[in-house]
């Protein structure tokens, strides 16, 4: 029920957005993320976009983890 699947925003119409979810297109509500823009990725729950995925944070997070793994787990993150 709570698993968030990333969806790409294709079009914005007032409080709705057309999104692409792994190839399927559907309209979802964007009341909770009014700042969303076309080409943003959002996480959906029960027909509503609940948050915008921040790609900068995602990249930083992966790079941070990669450094730990490459350093054979000696440093904590």
């Amino acid at each position: 029920m709570c698993l968030g699947v990333p969806a790409k925003v294709i079009r914005i119409e007032a409080e709705k957005a057309l999104v692409d979810v792994m190839g399927s297109r559907m309209y979802v509500g964007i009341v909770f993320v009014p700042e969303v823009e076309i080409n943003d990725f959002v996480l959906l729950h029960a027909g509503q976009a609940m948050t915008i995925i921040d790609e900068v944070y995602a990249k930083e997070s992966i790079e941070e983890w990669r450094r730990v793994l490459d350093g054979n787990f000696k440093s904590t993150i």
Binding site: G4, M50, E55, F73
Partner: protein, 368 residues
């Protein structure tokens, strides 16, 4: 989204498993036992089982499922009441798919549907409003189960029903809040937990700061995690390191989706329409102010007030879902697991729900 694809990359996951085992061994050396970590969220439980993480780490870390599956924590009385609600001919009941097969004391919603009752599965509570508009001569009721992820959408649905002046719509609220049940578990002393893998989507709404009480009041660390294998492994790794370093802190490891303060719009909607109520939990009983109900001024949308439902007290069964959702036993400890109770013939909600611990064990961890 190439970055996010990395989070389920098998090679990357293999390195992550090695790191977790390394940290788990350090914990064992320090404390002379395995760390006990509870994943609160039912979607985490399913993801941990499906990805093979639980099986792979079984000798290194004890991962136990917590009370985070909304269907599983709904008590038998509520389920019987919801099924009873479907029995009148002028009603349309709408629900999320998971609820359809949950056994009531006598039958399930699915059985009621096969007998001709109008019960519909919807993707969003807001879809229910269209059904209400298309059926003005019927009462349309949404079964409002869920945690903080779903609750703002229920509030949004009430707001929309008011805007559209829909009079034949109501919600049967049985919502659950994470903080009261975690406090209840910790204060009961029944289950020993070293740290929590905190629910990702609930945290999207609540924010990291709303979990600081775990560290402050109980000296227990927690890590907010996403749902992909690498994210889960990294969450476990970070949690183990907090324990090794004896740091009771809350870490947000799902920063690309969760903010410290959560989603303010969602929180405001909740506060506008809903108020705390004493909610019954399966296997636990009533926990004060552990759910949310409609405020008095929106009582016309409250199905509990609109319809007079009376049910008999449910009979006790051998089903042990109540202990499973508290992390006290594993599904294999229940005498019904994989005997009388299976996904084809579920006895309890933990075997029915897509987030249920028994369903996760049956599908991905059963040894035969």
């Amino acid at each position: 989204m190439e970055t996010l694809n990395l989070l389920s990359d098998p090679v990357y996951a293999k390195d992550s498993v090695d790191a977790v085992i390394h940290a788990a061994n350090r914990f064992k050396e320090k404390y002379g036992r395995k760390a006990v970590l509870m994943e609160v969220c039912g979607s985490h439980t399913m993801a941990i089982a499906k990805s093979g993480i639980k099986t792979r780490l079984k000798d290194d870390v004890q991962l136990i499922a917590g009370p985070g599956c909304p269907v599983c924590v709904t008590d038998q009385e509520s389920i019987d009441s919801m099924i009873q609600l479907s029995q009148e001919s002028n009603r349309i009941l709408c629900t999320f798919g998971d609820m359809m097969r949950v056994p009531g004391s006598k039958f399930s919603l699915m059985q009621a549907k096969t007998e001709g009752k109008d019960i519909r599965v919807v993707y969003s509570p807001l879809d229910t409003l269209k059904i209400a508009e298309q059926n003005p001569d019927k009462e349309v009721i949404f079964l409002g189960i869920g945690f903080e992820t779903t609750i703002p959408i229920l509030a949004l649905t009430i707001q929309e029903a008011m805007t559209k002046r829909i009079k034949n719509f109501s919600i049967w609220m049985t919502t659950k809040l994470v903080e009261p049940v975690l406090r209840n578990l910790l204060e009961s002393g029944q289950v020993k937990v070293d740290g929590f893998i905190l629910p990702g989507q609930v945290s999207v709404v609540l924010g990291k700061n709303r979990f600081l009480y775990l560290a402050k009041d109980y000296k227990i660390p927690g890590v907010i995690s996403g749902f992909e294998p690498v994210q889960l492994l990294r969450g476990i790794y970070r949690l183990l390191n907090l324990l090794i370093d004896e740091k009771a802190e809350i870490i947000n490891d799902y920063t690309y989706a969760v903010k410290d303060e959560g989603n303010q719009i969602a929180q405001n909607l909740i506060n506008d329409y809903l108020m705390p109520n004493d909610e019954g939990w399966r296997g636990i009983g009533i926990i004060p102010e552990s759910g949310l109900d409609l405020k008095e001024q929106y009582a016309r949308f409250d199905a509990k007030k609109k319809f007079n439902i009376t049910i008999q007290k449910p009979k006790m069964t051998k089903c042990r879902c109540g202990e499973i959702i508290r992390g006290l036993i594993s599904p294999e400890d229940c005498s019904l697991f994989n005997k009388g109770c299976s996904p084809i013939n579920p006895i309890g909600p933990c075997m029915v729900s897509a987030e249920g611990t028994c369903a996760a064990h049956y599908q991905y961890m059963r040894e035969e």
